[in-house]
Symmetry: C3
Amino acid sequence: MTINYVIGMAATAAFAMSGVLAVARKDMDVIGLTFMGVVTAIGGGTLRDLLLDTPVFWVVDFNFVWIAIVASLLAFSFERYMRAESVLLAILYLDAFGIALFGVQAIDKALLMEFSAPVAVVMATLTAIGGGLIRDVLAQRQNLLLSHEIYVSTIIAGSLLYLGLLGLFGKTLLTSIGGVGFTFAFRSLAIYRHWRMPKWLTLPSHLNG
Amino acid sequence: MTINYVIGMAATAAFAMSGVLAVARKDMDVIGLTFMGVVTAIGGGTLRDLLLDTPVFWVVDFNFVWIAIVASLLAFSFERYMRAESVLLAILYLDAFGIALFGVQAIDKALLMEFSAPVAVVMATLTAIGGGLIRDVLAQRQNLLLSHEIYVSTIIAGSLLYLGLLGLFGKTLLTSIGGVGFTFAFRSLAIYRHWRMPKWLTLPSHLNG
Amino acid sequence: MTINYVIGMAATAAFAMSGVLAVARKDMDVIGLTFMGVVTAIGGGTLRDLLLDTPVFWVVDFNFVWIAIVASLLAFSFERYMRAESVLLAILYLDAFGIALFGVQAIDKALLMEFSAPVAVVMATLTAIGGGLIRDVLAQRQNLLLSHEIYVSTIIAGSLLYLGLLGLFGKTLLTSIGGVGFTFAFRSLAIYRHWRMPKWLTLPSHLNG
């Protein structure tokens, strides 16, 4: 539990920082930016808990909000040093780790509450992308559903693999590492190789439609 | 129950297809489009269930999500054949049937939970338009509240008529058909005759305000 | 209780009117505008109740929706007379009173449910700004998080002061008045003096970033 908790905190902080940096060009003040960082970090898990009808995790344990606030303030304070390509890339990979971890945690939570595997996969997806979607809507920014990035696919694939591992070996540290590792590796490859959805899986915009 | 269930599934599929086609010009990939289709189909009912504090219908019965996914994938696959005026029109009428049916179902659900008639009307409205609103927000698209279509009016009018029928005759197959039929007919007329809100019920935009 | 109830109703009406007037230039019809007014008035409290996992206040007592509908229809009907600077200013101050009052009420509600002080402050903030955020998203309008107004700061400061007063003197009429009065005064000053966030608390937009 404790190691899970620490890692969950780290992922929350990473999500918050990536959230602040994503909207840093929107000419916002520290309060608006912190709001965006916190929403990015805890928005997806909030959606999950509302849909599963279970107490919202940060209302129960406010430390998740504190860490998101601190991480957002740090990102605000050091934003000028974080515009370097290398830092932005590091945050992309941190975000990849975040979705991998939040996905596995969401599946564990849903299964523990005796929901079915498909519900668990939906919750993993919503936990991973929900916060970013809410942030982008509030910041009047194009969200990832409108891009062709390989993002949601990695969460779904990782969730299916993790469910398979759970079925084969049960819940162990290794299955968790396998689930997190696969999603992280898949998403990292997509970042590293600039993968985009193939054309036949995309509808062209009909400019003269 | 069984016939209701089948019809509910058909309406869900229709909503999902209309949802995909509505955003088909946004240059999205199959995952983004399917997400939009599913959100359109189940978003309104999700809002209703959260507000009524009852388990979310698709978390309980995931078949609603499956049918929405399949319908969305079909709409994606055959989108090029669905651009014809006649198909788009057919989908408009399917959507009209969907809001009529979802409205009556929402009222039944709210009354069964012993909420008041006004709450039931609000739930009918939110169930019918909620999914489309969320989709349009996510797709950065103008939603129906910003248009002058006769849409919400038909749901409210149909809900009031259905409540009247319930008061007069109780819950029978005929009252349900009456409620669904009225909303469907009213909305269909609005589509067929291109009805728009009269000017005196509209605020002009003050270009030089 | 009764005086609180009446004041809550007045604040709800003020929020609804300000909500309608805020989007009055969007070329909407009476139903869309009323929807926006109602969402502005009850959206924040709805978020609060969902997050606290308590029955949504207006589902329990529909009078809050009625008053919001009536206020919205009034704002629609008399909109042409409400464009005067003086009226818009009056509505700004009404809104200031609304956030002050809703903030204190949200804190009372959260503490009564035995949530911690930080959770209570978050709920005060969300209750005050949630409705306006949802309205602006639906109306494709820039929300207050993207502005540099001194708005959220006044709610947070007022909430902290109110919590301090509660700790010192307990829940009395005077502590409530102190909490509402401080937020209202702070926000009113921000309106009157056109305060904006200082530059060092704002990230510049990087036009050539």
